[in-house]
């Protein structure tokens, strides 16, 4: 697994430059709660017909940050973006809540320290 650090400002451009639809496969968007303030967001890719090749772009975000959308580049990313909104309570551009969780569900269950 190859990890490449990006920033919220440049992530869309980095992915636009990197991603070739017939070469790369977008797996998903992943979140990892680091502490109360910080969540690591990962955009995970593999390469078609290449063995064990995983590329991860990542950035640390704060609660008030808005994560840019990559739907313009990868339309199928919308579902992963909506999952991040529900599970971590983060804001993702053009992505609404309510994919998994109902209004009366436990809010942002995968955020740091959320007890069940």
């Amino acid at each position: 697994m190859k990890k490449i650090e990006v920033t919220l400002k440049n992530v869309v451009n980095v992915i636009r430059e990197f991603y070739k639809p017939t070469k790369h496969h977008f797996l998903t968007l992943n979140g990892l709660a680091i502490d109360e303030q910080t969540t690591e967001i990962q955009w995970i890719f593999s390469e078609y017909a290449k063995t064990d090749e995983i590329i991860v772009f990542y950035v640390d975000v704060k609660e008030d940050d808005v994560i840019p959308s990559i739907v313009e580049i990868i339309p199928s990313a919308i579902i992963s973006q909506r999952e991040i909104v529900d599970m971590f309570g983060l804001k993702v551009e053009d992505s609404q809540s309510g994919l998994y969780l109902d209004e009366d569900s436990l809010a942002k269950p995968l955020s740091f320290g959320c007890a069940i």
Binding site: M1, P21, T22, H25, F26, L27, T28, N30, G31, L32, A33, Q42, I44, S46, Y48, A49, K50, T51, D52, E53, I54, V56, I74, P75, S76, I78, I79, M87, G98, L99, Y100, L101, D102, S105, L106, P109, L110, C114, A115, I116
Partner: protein, 362 residues
Amino acid sequence: MSKKTINIPLGSQHISLLEPIRFKFTCENETIVGIDSDVGFVHRGVEKACSSKFKFDAIPYVVARICGLCAITHSLSYTMAVESLLDGEVTQRAQYLRVLMVELDRIHSHMLCLSHVSENAGFEAMFMRIMGDRESVMDLQEALSGNRVQFDYVSIGGVNRDIQSDVASKVKETLSELRKKVEGYIEEFENNWSLSLRYKGIGALSKEEAYSYNAIGPLARASGIITDVRSESTALPYNDIGFEIVTKEDGDIYARNMVRLYEMLNSITMCENIIDSMPEGEIFTKLKGKPEGEIITRLEAPRGELMYYVKGSKKPILDRVRIKTPTFSSIPAFMHIFEGEEYANAPAILASFDPCMSCTAK
């Protein structure tokens, strides 16, 4: 004829769909022009439970409960991740037994899908024929693992049961019979008008669209994309047991049926090769320590790529277990395909995707 716009819900409970997902179709006369979906009806918080309630060595048995159909791929994918973090080696015999179970799982999962596709074509006799034959594969799984579904077969370090010689003979005998039956299905799906002509050109996803929507599994291969985790990962011994990738070009329901049928034949061949060349040795290696670091593993489940991200910091409870299931990835492609189709085709198209909401909502 004047255009009339109507909203039609499909699900969350629907006669043609035994899964709790709801689609809201906007139709102009009979044509679908818009679609929205709701997938969260059975969300159970498994990811949260895996990073808060359960110790890492209990999780193979927790994630096996995500899905009744592909329990083995969930527990194996997680187990492979932890084994890598523990820097542990698993014996070849255990790896072969794992692949045997994964491929049997694929066979009966594809049979379930094809039976529902037949049912949607109004061919109930075919539905019953396939479901009846599927029982023989479930029996094999029970003989190998002790359970028909949700088997706790895989554990960190190997598998929990060895294969006995009488069970090995039963596997070969049953699969030899099943091969003839699958060849019979192929003839039906190719030549019977209810299953072939009815489904050609319906619910098509072009190769370009499949790339654009990141299609995976049989959905991608039916559209001509050469992708299968079994050939893109060296974690399991697929290169040694006769794996062959199956692709078609048309991307319609018919092509998806054909991909699944020929994959079943290849899975039967692989299972037979595994029995014939089963390595000697132990089935379990005790691995010490606690997982440290982060890793991503992928496995080809019956519906496509299953991904696990695991992060640990030398504690019994992991920092994060992320599960990306095949149906979850495929939903945007589903929704794209529906647009422009006749509403009457929606149940058949949906059945041909073989969606699993139990996996998706996890």
